[in-house]
């Protein structure tokens, strides 16, 4: 067996494979959240958007037979949730965090309600690209079996990073996020910019959800997300609102998520549930390490309600 030849290398390899597989939804949600937060609002509802996107994507793929249509549908469903958040937050005396929590519960609840009939049936899944065909080692081949959405995510991270610096829209989003009075003084509608940024952020989170149900784990269940949408919010803070750093952080969280299954695959079953909790522990430690009561967060958009 080749597996025994690899020996201890199995664990890092499995974690690499896991990082690539598990990180994609983290990446999409965190890019969406990054865009939203750069405009000066927090959308905690992305967890609900993620789950609803997963359900919509799966259902669409099942009915149409095209997983890519499922991804699109998930994105559109996500942008509707983002638009709803953006619209409600425009109303006076509304707190974006409270609305986010409400929409998180609404999104997951709605997804469970409509998703009941789709738990059993098999929907067509997203194809993946075998970048590891040069290797004879099955672990490497499976590790490099990459979903196109992962690559789209990388391109998106770079594009966002570039756009924040080099386009008019990028500068306008950063301006509304950092100083609403300045944006108003220049005649931009702060509410409109935030509405659009939240809507676009919702789209990305919806696509992240479609990855969950259509690629990995690749089926629609109610416990699909297990809080990934919320962890992505923490991840954005860790990444200091930098899309490129979001990619690195998503890989890190993905690798942490793959720790438990990887250890199990080499026969270490003790503390399986403990290792499965690694991403949550990582969130906690990152938050403790990167947030201090004595200073404000560096790089945080000035208009965010958490930094104000």
């Amino acid at each position: 067996m080749i597996e025994t030849e690899l020996g201890w290398l199995t664990v890092p390899l499995a974690m690499l494979a896991g990082a690539i597989r598990v990180s994609t939804p983290f990446l999409f949600v965190s890019l969406g959240e990054c865009l939203t937060e750069k405009s000066g609002r927090i959308n905690l509802g992305l967890e609900g958007t993620l789950v609803f996107g997963a359900m919509t994507g799966y259902a669409t793929s099942y009915h149409t037979g095209s997983p890519w249509l499922g991804v699109l549908a998930a994105g559109i469903a996500g942008s509707l949730f983002g638009a709803l958040h953006g619209f409600i937050c425009k109303l006076p005396k509304v707190n974006d965090i409270a609305i986010g929590i409400a929409l998180m519960l609404f999104g997951t609840g709605l997804a469970f309600f409509f998703g009941k009939p789709y738990i059993q049936p098999q929907a067509p899944r997203l194809p993946s690209i075998g970048l590891g065909s040069w290797s004879d080692v099955p672990q490497i081949r499976s590790a490099l079996d990459i979903n196109p959405l992962f690559l789209v995510g990388i391109v998106l991270a770079i594009a966002l990073w570039w756009a924040f610096k080099n386009t008019r829209w990028g500068l306008i989003v950063r301006m509304t996020g950092d100083s609403a009075p300045a944006a108003r003084a220049m005649g931009y509608s702060v509410d409109l910019v935030r509405f659009l940024a939240t809507t676009a952020g919702g789209f990305l989170a919806g696509v992240g959800g479609a990855f969950l149900s259509l690629s990995y784990p690749g089926a629609w269940t109610e416990g699909l997300s297990s809080g990934q949408g919320l962890m992505a919010v923490a991840l954005v803070i860790f990444a200091r609102w930098n899309p490129l750093a979001c990619f690195g952080a998503a890989l890190l969280f993905g690798a942490a998520g793959a720790l438990g299954p990887a250890l199990q695959s080499v026969g270490i079953t003790q503390g399986y549930y403990f290792f499965n909790a690694a991403p949550y522990l990582l969130t906690l430690f990152i938050m403790i390490a990167s947030v201090s009561p004595k200073r404000s967060l560096k790089g945080a958009p000035g208009e965010l309600s958490i930094t104000k």
């Binding site: 080099n166 386009t167 008019r168 829209w169 500068l171 306008i172 950063r174 301006m175 950092d178 100083s179 009075p181 300045a182 944006a183 003084a185 220049m186 005649g187 201090s292 004595k294 200073r295 404000s296 560096k298 790089g299 958009p301 000035g302």
Partner: protein, 511 residues
């Protein structure tokens, strides 16, 4: 003069208001105000807080629609419905609160401020254009640094540059020198004056400082209580005449005389104090200072040189990273117990934010120092409202706080009255140490002189007073010794008798 008319820059604009009136509900903020700003002049707008200066300029800028009256630009009536219209007419304003975006660089701020920024920004081209623009400008700022890392003076310059970059030919400046060192203020105003003399620019400047008005302005208009009370050439008016126009016949309380003391003991000592600001950067670096009983030590400096952080440390809002505090020779920590034991009191800047709970009542805010002691607190820890209200009524009367009742939320009071209420709370008992920061910021003349008298009064009763102020005149008036804070350090301390404006100005700039 250029031979090509196409290359000719836009010329300075003349502006006039006729019968400007603005009524908010029952409040007449501005009444029948007609001013004339001639093209190519620097026109000063004087007046106390609440005199209607900002209402007037906001009407000109289109932030407010005047109830009556009109704006004329170069003699022709102009419709200005919003700030965009004003910009289109070539009118720009530099606000007291910066409108730059802190996380964007100076270059990004300038590029995005244009009416039609390019969709995709070609930075190489833009940088070249910006550098060419800066070459024509009298002052420079670094282009590639985020604005949050610029000093207050650089930000102010960038605000002015932004308006010039947008080719505005009529600038409204709202107290432009409040964040500049005297040297920087002279530099900026001198250069702007040069541009007005060259006929490139007209400036309407709101100011409080007579020195700047007499040195740089051509004309002056004085407002009081929403009305224009005087106008004319600066050269025809004396400072005395202008200040009488500003204040009218308001009675000003006599300043408390300074009592002289012989060698008093040191009460407050700051030993090697270090602290960081909220960005985690060192803001206070090794401050040593002693304050004696019966002495006011004034800390002068341009805002943003660590004064706020120092005050936060002294009032317990922020932990020092190193160094110690002593009161009466004993180690002091700004905890509630120590404050009560050593009788340390304070008036932080922006009292509504730093020393009051805006939505709690005046009586509750006044009781913050005493609510946990009898007679307000009972043995079992219950509060009895009656003694609390009684105490509040006494203090409100003694300190002349204007409030509808003791039960009014303190946020509904005017700035001067909030300051008086806090003063009443802090000064009603015995005071050994008093820490004061910008106590008169934004207050009218009458309140200013009253609050300064109270501070002097505490000094005369033997309190050690540490006064931090951005207003050099306030320090020169009150302090026994002047210390200058620059770059987080205090390297310059002189007795008031030897204090000299130029030397202080140099120390403020860090020389």
């Amino acid at each position: 003069m250029s031979a090509l008319p196409a290359a000719e820059p836009r010329r300075a604009i003349g502006l006039e208001t006729r019968g400007m009136t603005k009524i908010f509900g029952s409040l007449v903020a501005l009444e029948d105000c007609s001013i004339e700003v001639r093209p190519g002049t620097l026109h000063a707008l004087l007046g106390e807080n609440g005199a209607g200066k900002s209402t007037l300029v906001k009407c000109i800028m289109g932030f407010y629609q005047p109830t009556r009256g009109e704006v004329l630009i170069n003699g022709a009536p102009a419709a200005i419905a919003n700030p965009r219209d004003a910009h289109a007419h070539g009118i720009g304003m530099v606000y007291q609160h910066f409108t730059l975006v802190p996380s964007l660089t100076a270059a990004e701020n300038l590029v995005i401020s244009q009416a039609h920024p390019p969709a995709v920004i070609d930075w190489r081209k833009e940088k070249k254009a910006l550098e060419a623009f800066l070459d024509r400008m009298p002052f420079k700022v670094p282009l590639d640094v985020p604005v949050s890392a610029l000093s207050a003076g650089e930000k102010q310059k960038l605000e002015i540059l932004k308006q010039l970059f947008l080719d505005q030919r009529f600038l409204i400046l709202d107290e432009p020198t409040s964040v500049l060192t005297p040297g920087e203020a002279d530099e900026v105003l001198g250069l702007l004056r040069g541009m007005t003399e060259a006929g490139e620019l007209t400036i309407l400047m709101i100011s409080h400082k007579f020195r700047e008005v007499t040195a740089y302005a051509d004309d002056v208009t004085v407002l009081r209580r929403g009305r224009m009370v005087g106008s004319g050439k600066v050269s025809d008016l004396s400072v005395d005449a202008m200040s009488r126009m500003m204040i009218g016949d308001t009675k000003i309380r006599e300043r408390a005389a300074r009592q002289s003391f012989e060698a008093k003991p040191v009460v407050l000592e700051l030993a090697g104090l270090f602290a960081e600001d909220e960005g985690g950067l060192p803001a206070v670096e090794g401050v040593n200072l002693k304050v004696h009983a019966g002495e006011i030590v004034g800390i002068a400096g341009v805002s943003g040189n660590g004064q706020s952080t120092l005050i936060e440390v002294l009032s317990g809002q922020r932990e020092a990273t190193d160094g110690r505090l002593f009161v009466d020779g004993e180690p002091y920590e700004p905890s509630r117990q120590h404050m009560a034991k050593f009788k340390v009191f304070g008036l932080p800047e922006e009292p509504l934010k730093n020393a009051a709970v805006p939505r709690m009542t005046v009586a509750e805010n006044i009781a913050f120092r005493s609510f946990d002691q009898p007679p307000i607190a009972s043995k079992w820890g219950f509060l009895s409202p009656r003694p609390m209200k009684k105490k509040a009524r006494e203090l409100i009367a003694a300190y002349r706080v204007k409030t509808p009742s003791t039960e009014e939320p303190i946020e509904n009071l005017s700035g001067g009255n909030v300051q008086r209420a806090i003063l009443a709370r802090e000064l009603s008992g015995e005071v050994e140490v008093l820490i004061v920061a910008n106590p008169c910021f934004g207050l009218d003349f009458a309140s200013v002189s009253e609050i300064r008298s109270q501070i002097m009064d505490q000094r005369n009763r033997g309190a050690a007073v540490l006064l931090v102020s951005e207003d050099l005149d306030e320090i020169l008036e009150l302090a026994d010794r002047v210390a200058v804070m620059s770059g987080g350090r205090i390297d310059y301390v002189v007795p008031i008798a030897e204090a000299e404006r130029n030397a202080i100005g140099k120390a403020m700039a860090g020389h």
